[in-house]
Amino acid sequence: MPMNRRRFLLGTVIAGGGLLLGYASTRPSKHRQANAALDGNAAPFLTTWLRISPDNTVTVLVPHSEMGQGVLTALPMMAADELDADWNLVRVEQAPATDLFANGVLIKGFATSLGVSIPGFLDGLATAATMKVAEIMNMQITGGSSSVRFTGEQGMRVAGAAARQMLLQAAAQQLQVPESELSTRLSHVHHQASGRSLSYGELASAAAQFEPPANPMLKRPEQFTLMGKPIPRIDIPAKVDGSAPFGIDARPAGMLYAAVKTAPVFGSRLAAVDSASALQRRGVVRVVELDDAVAVVADNYWRARQALDAMTVRFEATPNDAVNTASIFAQYDQALQGELNEDVEKGDTPAALAAANSVVEATYRVPYLAHAAMEPMNCTVHFHDGRCDVWTGTQDNLGIRGRVASVSGLDENAVTVHAHYLGGGFGRRLPNATNTIDQATRIAMQFDVPVKTIWSREDDMQQDYYRPAVTSRFRAGFDAAGQLTAWENHYIGKNEPAEAAHTPYGIPNQSIAYADSPTHIPFGAWRSVAHSQHTFFLESFVDELAHHAGQNPYQFRLNLLADKPRHAAVLKAAAEQAGWDRNLPAGRARGIALQESFGSIVAQVAEVSIGETGEVRVHRVTCAIDCGRAVNPDTVRSQAESGVIFGLTAALYGEITIDKGAVVQRNFNDYEMLRLRESPEVDVVTIESGAALGGLGEPATPPVAAAVANALYILTGQRVRELPLKNYRFAAAPSERA
């Protein structure tokens, strides 16, 4: 995403008095056009913005989705800090609220005026018929660990600082004193010399008459009053008493419920349905046939599900009906023998390998993974009066609005999306993963009452957009002096982010290349995207090289990071906090791994043992993270804990297999989740390097699999080159390796 866009601010008086301030990035030629769009609109909709009301409350509208990562708290903290607002007077709203959302003209105006680039993981949509839709989605998308570092740093802080500037101007005029004699604190402007002060609420209407400064002065970190403090998350109280509204909880009046059976083989179509028995059952209203699915609509979800399960449904045969996990990995192996696409070429790797004193080779594999968010996929849609309302939890409300419009043929302005909390996102609720939304829309189009489509856990497990299975092959060469001189890596399928397979280590000759090997299995972004696979590969193989060289794996890495001081500092911090050099009780070992992703650098040390039945036990994970600066330190910790456990769950258990063209796993009984009894202690160390803000939602996920696998090598002498670990039966080695 572009970091240095021109920006402008828009101020306006809102109905009933008060100041509205928005921020957008744009090409300068569009400035006038966007301002024109504001005329006559009492409540314009902007990308990131805040509202100051006469009662002195500040309302911050957050254009990102809350899925537990704390964005509803962190973004308002950033605006309120620059504004010098009293945190107790700050209110937060999820944008878009319904009334604001109706202002579609402006949304379009802004979207088309934005010189935005589309993140690669949205490519499928960006190339779809309307670029405009993709641009709109980009404005509200919650993904790529981007909210705080982009919307927050470039939007919320600027909006807060600009509003403060305008309030100062208004106060200077009203008090007839120079601006330089005024100061701001706790939602008031103070004139110390005369002892007078005015509240922001009193000043807001007057402030709105001033031109918002385009480049207001931002605070230096030592001036922060909220950023850097562990402010309690505002969404938590509603999440302990059952009142937090998730998409699945929507209950518009007159609602019916739909249960759906989708073709198990992706790409298959509905062949035949015998719906007679279903229609006899209590509560069943209708059977709806779609291209690739059939739905039963009833007055209660359980009744719909029961009727569906009792129905006979056939799907058409497809060319993929014989595909299975083994055939996919065989296809990958073949692709890696064929033509490869260049990723990184540096030095002369073939020559360095030919001249090497010793060469190490290894092939790694990881399986497909499902997201398995706790809230099963669902979407409630109501077509009425030529319009449509949508209730769902999504990582991009505007993107879903565009999607429902395109599926139904309605104009986007006729679609209202009611934002809800997400019962887990992890990439599953991104706007390029809309199979549930599409089905819910098509089903509801046949009714004039709201219809809530709920996928069962089995539907969710078997109709996901999976993290792709990947094979990755390495060869590395050491020269006669024992220096690592050559690094060759061939892997399947370049995904996002583009640099995921790049090594941070100083190796003079590198040849990294990939083969495309498409399958019929749908894939999507899974927390940390391609980093989740490649960090396991890279950091396991580097560990192999350390042992091959007879060196301490920590020291070996450190020696290769001479040109990467931030990486080295994070690695050191993790090692020191974990007591890397301290002895462990018999039967335990430590493994280490490092990765930079989404602008943050994370190193982890896992402390591991083998249980009595050969199971892997992870006692503690030390996680050092340099995200530049922590906006909410407690959220940094909670996201690190969460990322570690998410990555560890995948490393221990995560495996989606394919048989007869379809996904085998169905529910939590065969797609297992880490639970409390297996959960390690997670010890988080944050490093305030002052570098540009990095993301937090994803970067703690990638390293843990390699850290655990590297510890297992020390414990057992067995190198883990395929996941998950549940497929191994480890026995602790009689004497532990050093």
Binding site: A244, Y301, P376, G424, E641, M673, R675, S679
Partner: protein, 153 residues
């Protein structure tokens, strides 16, 4: 006719005896704090208390809870001063929830455990709290439980 009490109120529902309690609560009574997670009693998101015992409502037919007293997350703090139980307060204090979807069931399971056993060992906690949290709030769940058991021990 299914008859039971929910959060102190008598309910009489004209529903099938094999309808799971989960869907009776959510779709018939509109008590959406109790969550659907898996439908096979594997995740615990649907945990409620039946006569004080933790029960996974997604596999519990209403015929099995005839004439019982059911407590859902909405009714947990009904008679508690301040509107939140110590478990709920600890959840805020330790900033436990992330996405929050599993936390109703988690809080019900922990509340039932601590009511029956105010000072559980780690092994007893591990054995009783088998709910799934996909966001991985487990370290904070353990700290929150420990803060309550050390206070009452």
């Amino acid at each position: 006719m299914a008859r039971f009490r929910v959060n102190g109120t008598a309910q009489e529902l004209d529903i099938e005896p094999d309808m799971p309690l989960l869907w009776a609560l959510r779709d018939e009574l509109g008590l959406t704090g109790t969550k659907f997670g898996c439908g096979i009693a594997a995740c615990g998101a649907c945990t409620v208390m039946v006569n004080g015992n933790p029960v996974r409502s997604c596999v519990t037919p209403v015929s099995a809870v005839e004439d019982t007293e059911i407590t859902t997350i909405e009714g947990l703090a009904v008679n508690v001063a301040g509107g939140l139980t110590p478990v709920q307060q600890a959840w805020i204090e330790h900033q436990v929830p992330q996405c929050g979807y599993c936390q109703s069931g988690m809080i019900m399971a922990v509340s039932a455990l601590l009511a029956a056993n105010p000072a559980p060992t780690d092994a007893e906690i591990d054995g009783a709290i088998t709910n799934v949290c996909r966001c991985g709030t487990y370290p904070r769940i353990r700290s929150a439980i420990r803060s309550l058991t050390s206070a009452t021990a």
